[in-house]
Amino acid sequence: MTITQAAHAAPAIDHHPLAGHAMTGAEAIVQVLADEGAGVLFGYSGGAILPVYDAVFRYNADHALPDGREPMPLIVPANEQGAGFMAAGYARASGKVGVAIVTSGPGATNMVTPIRDSMADSIPLVAICGQVPTTALGSDAFQEAPVSNIMGACAKHVFLVTDPAQLEATLRTAFEIARSGRPGPVVVDVPKNVQNATLHFDGASRLAIPGYRARLRAVESARLDDEACAAFFAALMQAQRPLIYAGGGVVAAEAAAALRAFADAFGLPVATTLMGLGAFDSTAPLALHMLGMHGTAYANYAVEDCDFVFALGARFDDRVAGVPDKFAPRAKFIAQIDIDPAEIGKVKAVDWQHVGPLGPALERLTAWGRARGLQPRLADWHAHVAQLKRRHAMDWDRANPLIQPQAVIAAINRHAQGRAIVSTGVGQHQMWAAQYFDFRAPRQWLTSGSMGTMGFGLPAAIGAQFARPDALVLDIDGDGSIRMNLGELETVTTYGLPIKVVLLNNRCDGMVRQWQKLFFKGRFAATDKTLHTKDFIRAAEADGFAWAKRLERNEELEATIADFLAFEGPAFLEVMIDPDAGVYPMVGPGSSYTQMITGEFIASRDATPVETTEIPPTSMF
């Protein structure tokens, strides 16, 4: 055993009732999962993980709740990718660490996409992978994959446990790393003989990770001093058009209340990123909804007009600041708070920065400004923003006889009233959902933001429903996206989850088609699905959906949606939408917000003609 990995026994005061007990590695894993508060596990079995599955089975049998329920149910998907996204949906909806357990080789490689997706969106996960026995490692054994190499490139961290004496400490440390600092996924690769080995449980050990912990302590204890507050307010009080740009970091930091208090105290309008939806109540007077490539026109115009940007848990990524130099071109001052030092000034230089927890920083600023009676005079700016919201309101083709997807979301939103949990696939439907749903609180909006992974919606909704059994959980999906993990339809009914699946079927890969229309002269390579024969209603029925209907006529929209949402159990609604409906506004690749295309139904304020020619090959889709 090396010095740095020595398992440090905890002080006797927090004595674990099982401390000193002999148990197998598999039993120790399950005990640590229980101790860490893992409420639901997601995974698919296989040879190399069997000891852990057996230990979960025995744990649940021995600790059954008074009503007979299992304390730590293990939910089985159709594919390990589904398990990973269920764990991610669970984590996103609850704020807790999601747990997935899979076998070696193909089980582990099927987890790569959800691990990378969670890394890119800073979602805390612990994934436990079975591995071939230590004696077989590196021998190209049956179902062996180099998990630590593969996952090392994708995850926040990966551990390969070869010494049973380290197992307990490693798993506990995995939870610590997943949830601390900027959250992320941690993979623990456990050879089968380590699962079967006997060890002495100590109930508290952790690995020494001195570098990580020292850096974390420095960041977490960072507080704004008077000088920093004074500098911030000196700039804010000079600003005439200040704006908050809030990202997913506000959600991760549980700082929505602190953000609301700050924005209300000083009157700053708030635009959120795709990941930040819900971080600020979208029905609040100061809310501008979403900014960026498909943000609202009024949010993007406000970004164009503002002279002060306050970035909170947001990273100026290319869907927001496609052209960093032209983002918020009139801003004289940019302030940024983030928990990750590497995000400060990464894309755009900032004038004021703070690396530390968002909640305490915002609370400090609010108290500091209040105590000094500081009140920016923003009446003109508020009037300007109100006018932008009125003049450039979101809208669509209301006269079209074909069903418009925006109308479907708006109708569902009238029932949900900003309280539903909404997951999505990736594509146009994802953007319409982001644009037309209200989100009154964080953790209601579950979407694959950074990776943009099709197939996320259905399994994420399943995980979310386990996290929030009483909530209305909606999966807004596309025909391409839902196909990717369609096997999970059956998982919904197997577990009797009252999820409402809305399939906006445009019989094509709509978002790609939109780009082909705009930038590839309408050459619809590989995106047309009109010859596909899938009957989604029969598929849903075959998977046990008692309510599965197709909506094809505008006149039936309101009544069908009311009936669909009122159904008690799992329900599947396919809506045949106008295949030519587009997502607008759109800030094209390489364009600035001034060149935003607002489409035919949202007023543009700029006459700058936009050339939609073939895009340069370097532009990202």
Binding site: H157, G211, R215, A342, K346
Partner: protein, 92 residues
């Protein structure tokens, strides 16, 4: 511009791969690399040479500090100059 980084790394399985992988994933070439034992068998010392502008260097330093097994990283070309070059993310 050429930069020399000195890095103390916990001797964990896969730690060196993660350092090398970070450079590859962020498109920064490692011009030279030496790995040496230290008096602590659990810790290795890496010396890396790379070239790039100040922004590239700053980003690679910050990203290296996010790796769990990294104990300390400093840029020898910056030592004594720029206080962002030492361990730990200091608050503004």
């Amino acid at each position: 511009m050429k930069h020399t980084l000195s890095l103390l790394l916990q001797n964990e399985s896969g730690a060196l791969v993660r350092v090398a992988g970070l450079f590859a994933a962020r498109h920064v070439n490692i011009d030279a690399l030496t790995v040496a034992a230290t008096h602590d068998p659990a810790v290795s010392q890496l010396t890396l040479v790379l070239h790039g502008d100040e922004g590239t260097l700053e980003q690679i330093l910050r990203q290296l500090r996010k790796l769990v097994d990294v104990l300390d990283v400093s840029s020898l070309s910056l030592v004594g100059g720029h206080d962002g070059s030492r361990l730990a993310a200091t608050p503004a």
